[in-house]
């Protein structure tokens, strides 16, 4: 069991619905976010290319945030999901510094917070708030170890990339291109 996402940049319109849905599902305070949109532009008018990406924690297999956490608050749970136990977190920010994706932030209550793949609903939902809400259905979430899962199938059939491969973190989020 290894959870991951494939996000279709050919469909994403960068509307930010994933961000708001995450905020309301996970009580992310105003001014903070666990996921966000990036816009990349390449070329000169009128030969211009535009890509939107919904980004978040990559739940890396080789996760520097977990390695550097002095208290064990950052750890990996079943399915390869990287989570932070708020009670154990001392807010030292080492993990924030170590993350090549800038996916973590310090919550106003003092602990570090980030995407959990909506781990709290996993018992009864094999989806996440961002994936369930996306109007273009561009976020595919599922088990990368199961070759028959939707996410595995789409990665088999489509071209994709991951972010910051040079960091060697083995991210679990793939962008369809």
């Amino acid at each position: 069991m290894r959870y991951g996402m494939a996000i279709d940049t050919l469909k994403c319109v960068g509307c930010g619905d994933c961000v708001v849905a995450c905020q309301t599902e996970n009580n992310v305070p105003f001014g903070y976010c666990r996921d966000w949109i990036t816009e990349t532009i390449d070329g000169t008018y009128p030969q211009v290319e535009l890509e939107f990406r919904s980004e978040r924690c990559n739940h890396c297999e080789n996760s520097p945030c977990v390695r550097c956490c002095p208290t064990g608050a950052s750890h990996i749970v079943e399915g390869g999901i990287v989570v932070v136990t708020a009670d154990k977190c001392i807010g030292c920010s080492a993990c924030i510094e170590s993350c090549p994706y800038d996916a973590r932030y310090t919550h106003p209550l003092g602990h570090v917070d980030k995407c959990t793949f909506c781990h709290h609903v996993r018992d009864y939902k094999q989806t996440t708030a961002c994936s369930a809400v996306c109007p273009t259905s561009c976020i595919y979430f599922g088990d990368l170890d199961n070759p028959k899962s939707e996410v595995s199938m789409i990665l088999k059939n489509r071209k994709f990339k991951d972010l910051a491969p040079e960091a060697g973190t083995k991210p679990q989020i793939f962008y369809l291109i």
Partner: protein, 747 residues
């Protein structure tokens, strides 16, 4: 331009007390976390925690569920899986709709304008006092000038309640920015061709199309929910998308063909497409013979409009014009030349929409799979009330110069409110509900003069929008999450109805629109039109008539009904019978000819920017609706201001860099109230600049929106009115950049 008599009141010193809003309670353990829903085992647990609604953040009106937590507070809003407007997925505005409820800047009590020490201020008032005052003033104006001289300016669902109130006391003087300022031209243009309006949602069969043509239509930046979803499906299906836009819009970036057109030349491109389709024999001639009227005239009309002719005008290369025409012909009839939504651009907009409709007519996409489906709506029986009185004049009389005007023209209501501009019919008072006319109407000089001249101005809103500051009486409406409203019954592939019910009681002293209308009506002596204690009685009665009930709808939220009008598409080879004069698709419009207009569209050159000026184009951001969401805490988190898109060549010429702020000054010397930050980007042509509509709020009580970005409406002082239906074309305005606004303030 602040009126002297009617001083703009910044709602200051009001002691806006009341309950402090609990900012979304920060918890570590998460509440009932479910998305998706109906098929879930946990559904039963949810029943007491979720309430059906349909969204009021925009006009798409997606149905959803308002979820409350164990304290009875609103936690989140999720889409209703059964709803054809959203298929269970709300857009960012719908998901963030709870921000409207949470917003601590909401209007909290009724307010009455009064003079204190020579200064006009608002004071808090009781509902009793505010409603009595409105009824007294309205009845006085009704007695002296006639009920017709009280006008309703409205947008959105609550407008219905006030429309009923106005018709009950004898006024049909209505204006709605959704028509003349927005989609009116396309309704007129398509009606002249196919005999019926496009309506909302558009009956475009995008999910099954093979070719989608967008002309200044920004699906993905406008989050017209089901359309965005269907465009994503079309992308999955490998459909060819062709986008015509001077800007690399989101849709353009997802298109096989992006035609970066010179602004204001669309009709030339459309005519040249017709030329290619006709003269290269790309059409189904049986369809043309059986179903269209005026083909020979059209053929003659477009004879010289070759791609080479259009290239000089549009800057689109002839081979691109031909290739895209071939794509359309290959896909026909599964092709959509999308009518767009906000189409009041240059004053010849009905004719541009006609050209788009004619292309659809030639390609045979009307009533065909992958083209335009045959929509079907559903009308609930009206709750019984006495017949309405007949007004001596209505909005139709104000719009009489525009033969095809199909709804009240806001700008004509405004003109009738200015004594020196008004004709025979004069307007003395306004009730404004759900539309911020300081942002939604161009030519603000006229708006300001009208506001100054009015005897009485009532504003009903949830937020202290700019227009609120000009009101004599302000009534705080509760948000859609706190009230009942009329059943949403829209046209779709199948008819459907949706219920909106309160999930929580109204916050502060706010009240539902239906209650406000009823209270005013009773005080004006027309109480017999409001024969119910609670609006839920009206809904239950209506639903019972069709074999449902309020109880059932509270349970399911959305009910999809069976079609009664037959098939969703015309059959193969079926001869169509349309409600046009000829019964056919009118390539040559008999109606326009009879009314003295061009029966077939012509290209007319439009004004171009002078040196140092740039055409101002404006659009939408997916996380905002007009100006109404600019203070929503969830949505300002995503985007709290607009920026001015500028081509790098232009930036270099001026020595500007991204994030540098400038004021805009237009061709008439009008300067924006606030500066705007430049965004240097290759996504825009060099002869135009672009900004998102709805920012630059002037009311300080909007703590997150005040002074953020600039307001495009301020720059739209040159309005090109469409002689056919009265649309207010807004894109012939040009701006230049200044660092000093002349009032000693530097950007």
């Amino acid at each position: 331009m602040i009126s002297t008599r009617r001083q703009f009141i910044k709602i200051s010193g009001l002691g806006f007390g009341g309950a402090a809003i609990a900012a979304s309670s920060v918890k570590l353990a998460h509440g009932a976390g479910l998305f998706g829903s109906d098929d879930d085992e946990q559904f039963n647990d949810l029943k007491n925690k979720r309430f059906p609604t349909y969204c009021e953040v925009c006009f798409w009106k997606c149905a959803g569920w308002t979820h409350t937590n164990d304290k009875g507070e609103i936690q989140k809003i999720l889409g209703n899986d059964k709803d054809p407007h959203c298929y269970g997925r709300l857009c960012p505005r719908g998901t963030g709709g709870l921000g409207m409820y949470q917003d601590e800047d909401r209007l909290k009590t009724p307010l009455i304008r009064e003079e204190k020490n020579g200064k006009q201020v608002f004071r808090e008032a009781s509902w009793e006092e505010a409603l009595d005052l409105i009824a007294e003033k309205f009845n006085k104006i009704k007695a002296e000038d006639g009920a017709e001289s009280i006008a309703l300016l409205k947008h959105g669902t609550p407008g219905k309640h006030f429309e009923h109130l106005f018709e009950a006391f004898g006024s049909e003087t209505v204006g709605e920015p959704a028509y003349a300022q927005c989609r009116g031209p396309r309704e007129a243009g398509f009606a002249a061709t196919f005999g019926s309006w496009i309506g909302s949602p558009e009956p475009t069969d995008i999910r099954d199309t093979k070719c989608l043509v967008l002309i200044g239509s920004h699906i993905g930046e406008n989050m017209h929910n089901s359309q965005v979803q269907e465009m994503a499906q079309a992308i999955d299906n490998g459909a060819c998308i062709i986008t015509v836009d001077p800007r690399l819009s989101t849709a353009a970036s997802k298109s096989k063909f992006w035609l970066p057109i010179k602004p204001a030349t669309d009709i030339a491109l459309l005519l040249s497409w017709m030329n290619v389709l006709i003269y290269e024999d790309l059409l189904d001639l049986n369809h043309i013979k059986d179903n269209t009227y005026g083909f020979e005239q059209l053929k003659e009309h477009v004879r010289n409009f070759t791609p080479e002719w259009a290239y000089n005008i549009t800057n689109i290369k002839p081979d691109q014009i031909r290739k895209t025409a071939y794509e359309m012909a290959n896909a026909a009839p599964a092709v959509i030349i999308h009518p767009g939504r906000h189409v009041a651009w240059y004053g010849d907009d009905t004719q541009r929409e006609r050209a788009m409709a004619i292309l659809n007519g030639l390609l045979g996409s009307w009533g065909k799979r992958g083209g335009f489906y045959l929509k079907e709506g559903f009308k609930l029986p009206s709750y019984p009330h006495p017949a309405y009185p007949h007004p001596k004049w209505t909005w139709r009389d104000l719009a009489k110069d525009y033969p095809l005007a199909g709804m009240g023209l806001t700008q004509e209501v405004i003109r009738a409110s200015i004594p020196e501009e008004a004709g025979e019919h004069k307007v003395k008072a306004w009730l404004v509900v759900g539309t911020n006319v300081k942002k939604s109407i161009p030519h603000q000089d006229l708006v300001n003069r009208a506001i100054e001249a009015l005897d009485f101005l009532v504003v009903v809103d949830t937020m202290p929008m700019d227009i609120v500051g000009f009101a004599d009486v302000v009534l705080p409406e509760c948000t859609y999450l706190e009230r009942y409203d009329g059943i949403r019954s829209a046209t779709n592939r199948e008819p459907s109805i949706a219920l909106r019910m309160p999930a929580v009681p109204p916050k502060y002293e706010s009240k539902p629109g239906w209650w406000i209308a009823k209270q005013i009506g009773e005080r004006m002596g027309v109480g017999e039109y409001f024969d119910y204690e609670d609006f839920s009685e009206v809904l239950d009665w209506q639903l019972q008539q069709i074999g449902s009930s309020l109880e059932e709808m509270q349970d399911i939220g959305v009910k999809n009904l069976k079609r009664k009008s037959g098939s969703l598409y015309f059959a193969e080879g079926e001869k169509v019978n349309l409600p046009t004069n000829s019964g056919k698709i009118e390539l040559y419009s008999t109606e326009l000819a009879a009314k003295g207009f061009d029966p077939m569209p012509k290209y007319t050159p439009h004004a171009e920017p002078e040196e140092g000026f740039y055409r101002l184009i404006y659009g939408r951001a997916p996380m905002h609706t007009f100006s109404r969401t600019a203070n929503n805490p969830h949505l300002t988190d995503l985007k709290d201001k607009n920026t001015l898109w500028m081509n790098p060549k232009v930036a270099k010429l001026w020595g500007f860099e991204t994030d540098e702020e400038v004021y805009l000054k237009n061709q008439d010397g009008v300067i924006t109230s606030f500066p705007i930050a430049i965004r240097v980007t290759e996504r825009i042509r060099w002869d135009a600049v672009y900004m998102i509509h709805g920012f630059g709020h002037t009311n300080k009580k909007l703590s997150r929106a005040y002074g953020k970005g600039a307001c495009d409406t301020e720059m739209i002082t040159n309005v090109k009115v469409d002689p056919i239906m009265g649309g207010t074309g807004m894109r012939e305005n040009f701006v230049t950049f200044i660092k000093d606004n002349g009032k000693g303030t530097k950007a």
